[in-house]
C-alpha cells in the first residue's frame, strides 16, 4: 500500500470517526439537539421565505415598472398632423418602448369599457369629452431622469393638454417594497444569528457531556483535529437536517399559500405558478447554513481547547 493510499485511508477513517462521534453526541442529548436543529431550521426557513418574498416583490415591481405608462392627452383642437407628429417624436425617444395613438372615439370607447358605470353619462354628452390620446409604454431600461425629461418635452408641445404619469404611486410602491425587503432581511439575519448561537450552545453542552473523554484524548496525544472534528461534524449534521426541513416546509408552505389565500392576488399580478427558490439560491442557502454549522462547531472546539 503506497504512502498516499495509506493517507487516504486514514482520511476516510478520520471522517468516519468524526461522523460517528457527532451522531453519538447528538443522540445522547437528542432533546436539546432536536430543539437547536429546529431553531436552525426556523432561521433557514425565514431566510428562505425572505428570499422567496423578495423574489415575488421583485417580480411585482418589475411588472409594475414595465407596465408604467405615460398617457399623452391631446387637446380636442389638435389636428391629425399634430397628433401624428407628437406620436412620432414620442416613439423616437430612447425612454419609449412603444406608443399607440387612440383617436377621440377610441379613447372614449376605452374609458367606457374601463368604467362601465360612466358609459351612460359619457354617451349622453352632446360632444365627445376626450381628445385623442397617445398611450406610451416606457422602455424597461428608461431611467427616471429620462422619463421626466420626456414628460417635460411633451408638456411643452402646444397641442398637448396634459401628460399623465403615475410615478408618485410607483415610487411609493417601490419604497414600500424596499422597506419590506429590509425588515424581512434584518429579521432573517437576527434569527440566523440566534440559531448560530443555539447550535454553538448545544455543541458546548456536548463538550461538557464529553469532557472526560476530550481531556483524555488530549493527554494521550490525539491531534487537535480529532477534538474539533466531531464538533464540526455535529454542526454540519444539524445544519444539513435543519436546512432540509426548512426547504421542505417552505415548499409546502408556499404551495398552500399560493393555492389558498394568495391565489387571487397571484393571478391579478400575473405572477408565475407557486414561487420558490432557484437552484442557485437553494445551493447558496445550504452552503451558508453548512458553513455556519461548521463554524459554530469549530469556534466551540477552539474555545474548549484553549
Amino acid at each position: 500500500m503506497s504512502a498516499r493510499r495509506r493517507e487516504d485511508t486514514h482520511a476516510a477513517g478520520f471522517l468516519r470517526y468524526c461522523l460517528d462521534e457527532a451522531y453519538l453526541s447528538l443522540t445522547r442529548r437528542w432533546r436539546v439537539a432536536v430543539l437547536s436543529t429546529l431553531m436552525l431550521a426556523a432561521a433557514v426557513l425565514v431566510v428562505a421565505a425572505a428570499l422567496v418574498l423578495s423574489g415575488v416583490l421583485g417580480d411585482v415591481t418589475t411588472r409594475m415598472t414595465e407596465a408604467a405608462e405615460l398617457s399623452v392627452y391631446m387637446s380636442r383642437e389638435a389636428s391629425v398632423a399634430e397628433r401624428e407628429a407628437t406620436a412620432a417624436a414620442t416613439r423616437a425617444d430612447a425612454a419609449v418602448a412603444a406608443a399607440e395613438v387612440l383617436d377621440a372615439d377610441q379613447a372614449t370607447a376605452r374609458v367606457t369599457a374601463d368604467f362601465p358605470d360612466l358609459a351612460g353619462v359619457i354617451t349622453a354628452l352632446p360632444e365627445r369629452p376626450f381628445g385623442a390620446v397617445i398611450e406610451v409604454r416606457l422602455a424597461a431600461t428608461a431611467s427616471e431622469t429620462q422619463v421626466e425629461a420626456l414628460v417635460a418635452r411633451l408638456r411643452a408641445i402646444p397641442a398637448v393638454d396634459d401628460v399623465g404619469y403615475d410615478r408618485e404611486v410607483l415610487r411609493r410602491v417601490l419604497l414600500t417594497v424596499t422597506t419590506v425587503r429590509r425588515v424581512v432581511t434584518t429579521l432573517a439575519l437576527l434569527l440566523a444569528l440566534a440559531a448560530f448561537a443555539a447550535v454553538a450552545a448545544v455543541l458546548r453542552l456536548g463538550y461538557y457531556a464529553r469532557r472526560d473523554e476530550i481531556d483524555l484524548l488530549g493527554l494521550v496525544g490525539a491531534p487537535s483535529r480529532a477534538i474539533s472534528g466531531p464538533f464540526v461534524a455535529e454542526g454540519l449534521l444539524q445544519a444539513a437536517v435543519g436546512t432540509t426541513l426548512a426547504l421542505i416546509a417552505l415548499r409546502v408552505g408556499t404551495w398552500m399559500v399560493w393555492r389558498g389565500p394568495a391565489a387571487a392576488w397571484g393571478l391579478a399580478m400575473q405572477l408565475p405558478d407557486v414561487p420558490f427558490l432557484t437552484w442557485q439560491h437553494m445551493l447558496t442557502l445550504a452552503t451558508a447554513a453548512l458553513a455556519a454549522g461548521a463554524l459554530a462547531g469549530w469556534i466551540g472546539s477552539r474555545e474548549i481547547s484553549r
Binding site: 486514514h10 478520520f14 483524555l216 493527554l219 494521550v220 496525544g221 491531534p223 487537535s224
Partner: protein, 222 residues
C-alpha cells in the same frame, strides 16, 4: 534518552513542586520515582508528558526541549509516550477495545488495523476475551490492565506510570509489576512513580528518591 537539567517547577511563591532537579534516564532503563505524597513524583511525570512546563531548567527527551512543543507537535510527542494513570482514566461508555484504541480511532486508523493491534495487546495483558466488555464490568486489576494496553497502543519508547497500583490489592499490584517488567524487557524505558517500597524491591529498578521536590537519593538496587 531523558534529561532533566536543573528543573524547577514552581506554583508560586514558596510552592516549589520540584526544585533544581537534574536527572538522566538512559534508553531501556526502569526508573522508580519514590517518595511520600507531595514529594514531586507526579509533577515530574507531568513534565515528562508535557502536561506542564518547567518554571526553569530544561526537560529534554531525545534531545528535544519539551517546553518548545506546542499544539499538534506536543500531541505528536505524547503519542510517543505511554501513560498509565492511577485512576485508570477509562471511558465508562466505551468498550475495552474502544478504550484501548481511543487514539488510533481518533487518528482515523482503519478499524481492522486498530482491532489487530488492540487484540495483540489485550492478549498480552490477558484480556483478549473481554474486548467487547465495558470498564464497569471489569475488576480493578482488569481495568488497570486495559489502561496499560491503551498506553502501549502506539508502541511507545517511554512508558510513564503514576502510582499504577494505587487502587489495587497486593496480588494485582504484583501482577501489574510483572507486566511492567516484561514491557521494560522488550526495550521500553519505564518511569514509574510509587511510594510502595515493596514494589520497588520487587521490580528491582533504579530508584530516584524525591523529598520536598528534590532528588535526595539515586541508586540502583543490586
Amino acid at each position: 534518552m531523558i534529561t532533566l537539567a536543573a528543573v524547577t517547577r514552581s506554583y508560586g511563591q514558596g510552592a516549589d513542586a520540584l526544585l533544581d532537579v537534574s536527572l538522566v534516564v538512559d534508553k531501556g532503563e526502569f526508573v522508580c520515582l519514590a517518595g511520600a505524597s507531595g514529594a514531586g513524583k507526579s509533577t515530574l511525570l507531568r513534565l515528562l508528558l508535557r502536561e506542564e512546563v518547567a518554571s526553569s531548567g530544561q526537560v529534554l527527551v531525545n534531545g528535544t526541549d519539551l517546553a518548545t512543543l506546542t499544539g499538534d507537535a506536543r500531541q505528536a510527542y505524547r503519542r510517543t509516550v505511554g501513560f498509565v494513570f492511577q485512576d485508570f482514566k477509562l471511558l465508562p461508555t466505551r468498550t475495552v477495545f474502544e478504550n484501548v484504541a481511543v487514539v488510533a480511532r481518533a487518528m482515523g486508523v482503519p478499524r481492522a488495523q486498530q482491532w489487530r493491534r488492540a487484540s495483540m495487546l489485550l492478549q498480552q495483558v490477558g484480556l483478549q476475551h473481554r474486548m467487547e466488555a465495558f470498564p464497569l464490568q471489569l475488576s480493578g486489576g482488569e481495568q488497570q490492565r486495559v489502561a496499560i494496553a491503551r498506553a502501549l497502543m502506539n508502541a511507545p519508547a517511554i512508558l510513564l506510570a503514576d502510582e499504577p497500583t494505587g487502587n489495587l490489592d497486593r496480588a494485582l499490584s504484583l501482577e501489574v509489576m510483572d507486566m511492567f517488567r516484561d514491557i521494560n524487557a522488550s526495550g521500553t524505558t519505564v518511569v514509574m512513580a510509587t511510594h510502595d517500597h515493596e514494589l520497588i524491591t520487587y521490580v528491582n529498578c533504579r530508584v530516584v528518591q524525591l523529598h520536598h521536590g528534590q532528588v535526595v537519593d539515586d541508586r540502583r538496587l543490586r
